[in-house]
């Protein structure tokens, strides 16, 4: 599958407190309201500028911090179709996959804010049509996670198989 979209670029060490600040804790059972605050302390225009299908690109240790699944959830609700980072914190990574949002790890230093990208999920490559020849390859997602992603997340996966399958 080829995903196409525009890049919203962030830096290193974006924590779950950046993605969805603790002061909005009381909105966790009101997802549409909560989603309005996604990334507001680091990227106030994120929610208003991102279009469905766009990519969130960042540096190292993306999503560090808490286990709040609301973090990848509000990013997904903003319309982001894939998260492309240099590295991701473990719990965030697992949560995003469970919600059906791919997290791809590669060198993101040359990817620019606002540029269009094409991501070949199965092929493991990212192309920039504006800069032919600038192909980036990303690390393989473990097999078990690929199967969860294929079903659209952990809930549809368990609904289908009734159990974990290795």
């Amino acid at each position: 599958m080829i995903l196409k979209g525009k890049v919203y670029k962030l830096g290193d060490d974006i924590s779950t407190d950046h993605i969805i600040p603790g002061r909005w804790f009381h909105l966790r059972s009101n997802l549409p309201e909560l989603a309005k605050h996604v990334l507001e302390d680091v990227a106030p225009d994120f929610a208003s500028t991102v279009k469905p299908g766009d990519f969130l690109v960042a540096g190292k240790n993306f999503g560090l911090g808490s286990s709040r699944e609301h973090a990848p959830l509000v990013i997904k609700m903003a319309g982001i179709s894939a998260i492309v980072v240099e590295s991701a914190a473990r719990i965030f990574f697992r949560n995003a996959i469970n919600l059906g949002v791919p997290v791809l790890m590669c060198d993101t230093s040359r990817i620019m804010h606002g540029e269009e990208l094409e991501i070949d999920l199965a092929g493991g490559v990212i192309d920039s049509p504006a800069r032919p020849g600038e192909r980036i390859t990303f690390g393989r997602i473990p097999e078990v996670m690929l199967r969860i992603l294929d079903e659209g997340g952990l809930v549809p996966y368990i609904s289908k198989y009734g159990d974990f399958k290795l």
């Binding site: 804790f25 009381h26 911090g65 949560n95 469970n98 809930v155 974990f164």
Partner: protein, 417 residues
């Protein structure tokens, strides 16, 4: 070939050979959620068509983050969790009982168990030699429903600690120093396994403090061996029957070994806004703090209150510095009252918050004002963590926080004790 602690526990819980890098399906001994992650887990559980949890006795809900609730939305989340507990027969810990990780250590965890919690500091139970790790609401909802989960067996960093701590230097300084050394992503996806003569002599509260912060280096677990100290702790908490002696095999393979000489450590402080941004307390002298916060799953135990009380006895907090105390559990609070620590702290000008997460997560009971700084015994100093993106959090030990409350600026506790 010898096995690491992770490999040993996951081999036993998966019923097959578990080696670093393998993906295994394991039986879960305890799955839990708290009031921030629980409502989503319950909704996922129910909308997936599940009605019964696989193991009600091994499932727990904790009302600790918003405790007592500061907002109607959160009160309603509490109602949702109470109703779920009533329907399914799982354990419910009420508002005022304390922070989930402290209660897991006090009343549930045992060596060799697999514990998964919808909270990143689930790693705390690694102090009791449990393979304990944090996940999100959906993972925990499925673990509650099926009684199992999948895990990748982590590679292990062995942290070998020797030497005796100097006066007023302790476990918190060691773990802050280690994170400063290896970085906030230095152990991502890895297990940290602690060992060495200093660890063998280390008391359980100190082991829990260190295990608690393994996640701040990105680690999946922070594991201690179980020994006589573990057996005694479990005995005190009324469940010695859970004791199992566990240690890594002599020939275990480690990805990396880090040696630390505890006798060379000075009081450490993590500066805003990352935990690996460490300095010594002495280097930060002169940094004003408007709030000192002693509590949380990292340092809210009775032993932490004892250290703070020893420093604050007969002294007063600085007039420009609020001092907030939040015991991590009802048991810690009662023991601190019985020992007279709370009285000492109140006389020094402290505010006593209920047992629970209190000011840690930025929703109530100590939100910082614009431009303010807090010295905190918590585990995280991220931008905005304590409810205000225009504020600053410095992480330190209870001794350093107490000393700083007296002077109103970051202070090396050896000036007082």
């Amino acid at each position: 070939m010898g096995k690491t602690l992770s490999e040993k526990i996951l081999t036993s819980k998966s019923g097959g050979e578990a080696r670093a890098g393998d993906i295994v399906i394991v039986q879960v001994d305890l799955a839990f959620v708290q009031d921030g992650t629980g409502p989503l887990a319950v909704r996922v559980f129910e909308s997936s068509g599940f009605q019964q949890v696989a193991n009600p006795n091994g499932t727990a809900l904790f009302l600790d983050h918003a405790a007592p609730s500061p907002a109607r939305e959160l009160s309603n989340d509490h109602i949702l969790l109470r109703n779920f507990a009533r329907r399914t027969g799982v354990r419910l810990y009420e508002v005022g009982d304390g922070v989930c990780h402290q209660l897991v250590a006090e009343s549930l965890a045992g060596p060799g168990e697999v514990i998964v919690g919808a909270d990143s500091h689930t790693v705390t139970a690694g102090g009791l030699a449990a393979f304990a790790t944090g996940m999100g609401s959906t993972d925990i909802a499925m673990a509650m429903a099926l009684g199992k989960t999948w895990l990748r067996v982590p590679e292990t960093f062995r942290i070998e600690v020797s030497g005796t701590f100097q006066r007023s230097v302790a476990a918190k300084d060691l773990i802050l120093y280690l994170i400063g050394l290896i970085g906030a992503d230095g152990a991502t996806y890895k297990a940290l396994e602690f060992g060495g003569e200093t660890v063998d002599r280390m008391a359980m509260p100190d082991r829990l403090t260190i295990a608690n912060m393994a996640i701040e280096a990105g680690a999946k677990v922070g594991l201690f061996p179980s020994d006589e100290t573990t057996r005694q702790y479990l005995g005190t908490m009324g469940r010695e029957d859970k004791y199992l002696q566990l240690a890594a095999d002599p020939g275990a393979v480690y990805e990396r070994t880090v040696g630390i000489d505890a006798s060379t450590l000075e009081p450490q402080v993590s500066c805003p806004h990352t935990v690996d941004n460490t300095a010594t307390a002495a280097q930060l002298k002169g940094t004003r703090v408007q709030q000192a916060f002693i509590g949380t799953c990292t340092n809210g135990r009775v032993e932490d209150m004892a250290i703070a009380a020893a420093i604050l006895k007969g002294r007063k907090r600085h007039p420009d510095t609020r001092l907030i105390i939040a015991p991590a559990s009802r048991d810690a609070l009662q023991k601190a009252i019985a020992a007279g620590h709370i009285q000492v702290l109140l006389e020094a000008g402290a505010i006593l918050d209920p047992a629970g997460c209190a000011a840690c997560v930025g929703i109530h009971q100590g939100v910082l004002g614009d431009g303010e700084a807090c010295i905190s015994t918590a585990n995280r100093n991220f931008h905005g963590r304590m409810g205000n993106p225009d504020s600053y959090i410095y992480l330190a030990s209870p001794a350093t926080a107490a000393a700083s409350a007296i002077t109103g600026e970051i202070t090396d506790p050896r000036e007082f004790l």
